[in-house]
Amino acid sequence: MSDLTLSSTTSSSNVRARRGFGRVVFYLTIFVMCLMLILPVIAFFINAFAFRWFYPQFVPNEWSLQAWERLRLIPRAGDRSLEGFISLWASVPDVVSALGLSLFIGAVVTGFSIIIGLPAARALGLYRFRGKRIIEFMVITPTIVPPIAFSLGLNINFIRWDLALEAAGFPLDLSGSIIGVSIVHLVPVMPYVVLTLSGVFANYNPDFEAQARSLGAGPVRIFWDVTLPAILPGLFVAALFAFLVSWSQYLLTFLIGQGRVITLPMLLFAAAGSGNNAVIAALSLIFIAPAILILLVASRFLSGESSAVGGFGRV
């Protein structure tokens, strides 16, 4: 029912916005926003396929795949056959392994951030208790404190723990490892997850759980049958934030990864130093592709029939 009222108010405000002067402003805003989003992508596309693009030319005169060849994603002009591709891809290109690692770390971080964030968000969204303000503040501190401040300290501790663990007979590397990088990604990710989900729970009526319980459902069933469907849109948005924040981490990966954990941003920054515009543009395209893909899928959840500001609503 909350969905119903929500969508009806948005549609009626849209109708109002589409009259007279308001209508001009409305479409102008949309146009500018699209331009700001699409223009850089177009620039990347042109750059990624340009060959010798010099100043007075509005678009390049010549096109080429040299950036993609350099990234070893496409074979050289001579052997662009199936065999050529297979032999090139057989030794996994750096870009592909970096892409895979970024996806993997993003997925792991998203999963853990939800598992950690869900109970916290529930407590913050549903209950009032002493010290709640302080906890809410602590949750958002990672967005205020510069990453370099905590990551350097964290890395020293990681190294200490690694040594201690090795001495104790558990050789587990945190510093310079995927595990360490995943853990440190959780720091900037958690505020987004907890804030998004606590908003969902602020709008959630726990009596639905009591009702299911009274009808005979145990705690696990209640989670799957009652809680999850109610928070699913919000959960999806939180997961999206978590993934994108992890996806775009450079500094933390660099500091904790010790140059041994090569995610996509690491390649991108290395290429940026090299000054080859075409390669930078090609890498950037690969880097933003998942983000755009996810946003397209997400737009279905963020608007339309099911809304992210879900919960069942307190009746």
Partner: protein
């Protein structure tokens, strides 16, 4: 069929000085329909949640058929609560909602479908299986919520203000429906209400709770004839309270000496009688006749309310408009208080 016993049940929420429910004792006969009656905020929902196991009591015990269930998880108690605001799962169809309890109990799909149809027929909503809760009216949602509880044949059915969110017409209809189904299925049922008429009409026995305390637990008519205390009498519409002393079958007060029923308590106390039992004018005859002066007369439609002064005491009476048509304010009017309708509150 389950006998429910509540012993010394108490709930004090953290940070609150007053207990929401204080030392509640109730025995509810197997198969009976009992009303928990009380004003808003008196602890009715809290009591129901404790019986259902959804809230931990501070003290006390709850017994089903003489066995304590206080340590049994709510999902295994077999006490199903229907909440004040229906709480139909919005993303499930009506059939899925109603069949939810059976699905949890791992009943066969075909049997679930059949039972759901039967129970929906019983609450007079046949054929709405595939609809969504948001497509139903409040009254329909309430009936679906009832069906969802009934379909699992609970040991105990707890209805939290099942009628308070409905308009008057639906309220009467659903009231009769609940009574019908409860009689047919014989499920021990406790229902919460703040409407004394609803409690009286629907319930076998009524438990009146005021300020978190049980004031009286009895058959409905007792609340009118033999109220436990002044607050109880007032809750049921009592308006006449006169101080005095009861001794040897008579009540001595400023307005005179009145004959009492033989079972009236003795000692200093308060005399009470219901406005509708005061006889006025030509009807005033026989025992306990007093001379009064009419001070106020208000026409209420089907009734007329009169204020009558006897010395310093004011008596409120309710009469048939036709019977008191001729009386004017300030006129001297005889009234009588039949002994059988009097009661003394000594608490």
């Amino acid at each position: 069929m389950t006998h429910l016993a509540i012993r010394g049940l108490t709930k004090r929420f953290s940070g609150q000085t007053e207990a929401a429910v204080a030392d509640l004792n109730l025995e509810i006969e197997s198969g009976s329909l009992v009303a928990l009656l009380g004003p808003s905020g008196c602890g009715k929902t809290t009591t129901m949640k404790m019986v259902a196991g959804l809230l931990e009591p501070t003290a006390g015990d709850i017994l089903f058929d003489e066995k304590s269930i206080i340590n049994i998880a709510p999902e295994r108690r077999g006490a199903v609560m229907v909440f004040q605001n229906y709480l139909l799962f919005p993303y499930m169809t009506i059939a899925q909602n109603v069949g939810y309890g059976l699905k949890i109990r791992k009943v066969d799909r075909a049997i679930i479908d059949q039972r759901v149809s039967e129970i929906l027929e019983m609450v007079r909503l046949p054929g709405i299986e595939s609809r969504r809760p948001s497509e139903l009216s409040g009254g329909q949602q309430q009936r679906v919520a009832l069906a969802r509880a009934l379909v699992v044949e609970p040991r105990l059915l707890l209805l939290d203000e099942p009628l308070s969110n409905l308009d008057a017409h639906l309220r009467f209809e659903l009231r009769d429906l609940i009574r019908d189904i409860q009689q047919k299925m014989g499920i021990t049922t406790v229902f919460v209400t703040h409407d004394q008429e609803e409690a009286v009409v629907l319930a076998d026995k009524v438990a009146l709770i005021l300020d978190g305390r049980l004031r009286q637990y009895a058959d409905a008519d007792v609340f009118y004839k033999r109220p436990a205390d002044e607050a109880t009498a007032r809750f049921f519409g009592g308006q006449n309270f006169i101080s005095g002393t009861s001794a040897n079958g008579t009540f001595e007060a400023a307005l005179g000496s009145l004959k009492l029923p033989s079972d009236a308590p003795e000692g200093t106390g308060i005399l009470t009688f219901r406005p509708e039992n005061v006889r006025i004018g030509a009807a005033a005859d026989g025992e306990n006749t007093l001379q009064a002066k009419l001070t106020d007369k208000i026409f209420l439609g089907t009734q007329t309310r009169l204020k009558l002064a006897v010395g310093d005491d004011i008596i409120t009476a309710i009469a048939n408009p036709n019977d008191v048509e001729g009386y004017l304010v300030d006129q001297e009017v005889p009234l009588s208080l039949p002994p059988a309708t009097l009661w003394v509150l000594t608490k």
